[in-house]
């Protein structure tokens, strides 16, 4: 499956363009601030219905415009026989988002997620490693929402229960009125913890392998750091039980502080360098290159998840990712991507010399002031 056509209307500086994308992909070349990242942002918007850069919908409107619209058409391949058309539009007035799949609006926006099976690599990925736990939780939530049935629903239920429980705590309501939210919180929270633990557990060794292959030697580790201690809790029931006990233990503290302190909204993922005896936390002790390598390895594991869970070749979006990596690392990543079972590749680069993926086989497009020439 690949993205065969893309139609853009007033998305950032990209104005109105109808583009046909080659099956193997394309390299978009242009100077900085011409709209290269906007192009990838528009494509990835069709995958997650939000900006990979964390921008709000209104910020992606072209200057002075009322509505933006992105329409992508995929064409089937041996991994996915049927193509699909995903259209996403946003209207400034009323902040209305409208999404359709093959012309039909899905019941829930989340039903329209994941139709491109795309992964995006960007220089800001380093924040996954250097940033706070919320960055890593966001990463997990996006990967699991796109790949694990039921995760989106659990996450949404969890957030609803949490915000209401916190409101009850903040208002100083009696415990009998705070604890009515526990059942929903615990049920959804346990689902989230189990999904996160399973994903990290089954892919930790792949993360280590990818790290070693990009770094050219050293290995790294990825481990789940749940806020609720899950040591002996194997089944979902046991996880629910552990969560319930954690809430009970935190009761006084929560009443005092007026906020829920136990639960997966405080989870983290630990990323460590694992050779030379003791494990060093990459967040605190990693060099710039090591952190970027770990971030790349996370994205490669994300691509692997798409292959495994959706049985599709992931579409790879590369946003100027080689700018900040040394030559050796860049070469090894290119080799790795050529070797992996990946689908279409869309990459951006500031100059021709950077485009070596697929042995220079990618057609080159240029972009200037938002205008793409093919």
């Amino acid at each position: 499956m690949h993205l065969s056509a893309l139609s853009l209307r007033h998305f950032r500086n990209l104005r109105n363009q109808e583009l046909e994308l080659p099956r193997e992909g394309v390299a978009l070349i242009g100077d900085n601030a011409q709209g290269k990242s906007n192009f990838l942002e528009a494509i990835y918007y069709l995958e997650t219905l939000r900006s990979f850069r964390g921008a709000r919908d209104a910020q992606m409107l072209g200057f002075g415009e009322e509505v933006f619209r992105v329409v992508g058409t995929t064409e089937g391949g041996d991994d996915e026989p049927r193509g699909v058309q995903v259209a996403a539009a946003f209207q400034k007035k009323g902040k209305r988002k409208k999404v359709s799949v093959d012309g039909t609006e899905p019941d829930r926006l989340t039903d329209a997620l994941g139709h491109l099976s795309a992964v995006i690599f960007s220089p800001s990925d380093v924040d996954l490693v250097s940033g706070g736990p919320s960055e890593r939780r966001r990463f997990l939530d996006i990967v699991l929402s796109l790949n694990e049935p039921g995760y989106v629903r659990a996450l949404s239920d969890y957030r609803k229960s949490l915000s209401r429980r916190n409101a009850a705590l903040r208002a100083g309501q009696p415990w009998s009125l705070v604890s009515v939210w526990d059942q929903g919180l615990i049920r959804a929270g346990a689902e989230i913890m189990v999904a996160r633990r399973d994903w990290i557990g089954t892919r930790a060794s792949a993360f280590g392998d990818y790290y070693a292959r990009v770094s050219g030697g050293r290995r790294a580790r990825m481990t789940y750091r749940p806020n609720v201690s899950l040591e002996d809790a194997a089944s979902t029931d046991a996880v629910e039980h552990a969560f319930r006990e954690a809430l009970e233990a935190a009761r006084d503290r929560e009443a005092r502080r007026g906020v829920t302190v136990a639960g997966p909204h405080r989870d983290d993922v630990r990323l460590q360098l694992s050779d030379e005896g003791d494990d060093l936390d990459l967040r605190d002790y990693g060099s710039g290159g090591q952190r970027r390598t770990a971030a790349l390895a996370l994205r490669l594991v994300e691509a692997m998840t798409i292959r495994e869970r959706r049985s599709r070749r992931p579409m790879i979006l590369l946003d100027d990712v080689f700018a900040e990596l040394d030559g050796g690392r860049s070469e090894r990543i290119l080799e790795l991507m050529d070797g992996e079972d990946t689908g279409q590749v869309v990459l951006t680069a500031p100059k021709d010399a950077d485009v070596r993926i697929r042995r220079d086989a990618l057609p080159r497009w240029r972009i200037q002031a938002g205008e793409i020439t093919t």
């Binding site: 239920d157 209401r164 929903g184």
Partner: protein, 197 residues
């Protein structure tokens, strides 16, 4: 403001009706016979003037007691608790329930400042207490939403110590749907609520 503008303005305040639909409704009424339009107006006035909450259960009623509460053939040992009065109709239409109702008038919603005091909870508890054991079962039919579930937990906490059996509407696979397309949570709930055959 012209009469037409006033009416379309009123229509557009109704849920699910935008300004275009409101205008279309007005145009439809302009073409309809004046008798039809006056009948609609009278129906609206009647709803405003005559319909109120039943003194006992909170259901829509044109008298002190609603038709259900005043019907001697209803089973007074079973009480069904719903969030909103319009949900009484949904259960009544099934023809499967012969007991009485109690309308909460909403659900617990701390983000909107709605607690038990803002709902018809005290009247419910007084009603159960005052029945001196005659109410043997309370069916909690709040919605399967996060807030509806929390409301059911709260009611169970309050009602159980008073004696009646407290039950919850079963949730599960919607009738006529393929298992393949039902989400995991719904299947899990249907599994947990399975019954003997």
């Amino acid at each position: 403001m012209s009469a037409i503008d006033r009416l379309s303005d009123e229509f557009s305040r109704l849920p699910g009706i935008g300004s275009k639909t409101a205008l279309r409704l007005v145009h439809h009424l302009m073409k309809a016979s004046k008798d039809d339009t006056r009948r609609l107006a009278r129906a609206l006035v009647d709803v405003a003037d005559k319909v109120r909450a039943c003194d006992v259960c909170g259901n829509f009623s044109e008298h002190d007691l609603c038709e259900i509460c005043s019907n001697p053939r209803r089973d007074v040992s079973v009480l069904c608790v719903v969030e909103e009065a319009y949900e009484v109709g949904a259960i009544e239409r099934t023809g499967q329930f012969r007991g009485l109702f109690h309308v909460l008038g909403g659900r617990l919603s701390p983000l909107d400042g709605i607690g038990p005091d803002e709902l018809n909870v005290a009247t419910l508890l007084r009603r159960i207490d005052g029945s001196r054991g005659e109410i043997r079962e309370v069916i909690i039919a709040t919605n399967a939403s996060v807030e509806g579930e929390a409301t059911s937990v709260f009611l169970e906490q309050e009602i159980s110590p008073m004696g009646p059996r407290v039950t919850r509407l079963a949730r599960g696979i919607p009738v006529g749907s393929d298992l393949e397309y039902v989400d995991g949570t719904t299947i899990a709930q249907a599994l947990a609520g399975r019954r003997e055959m």
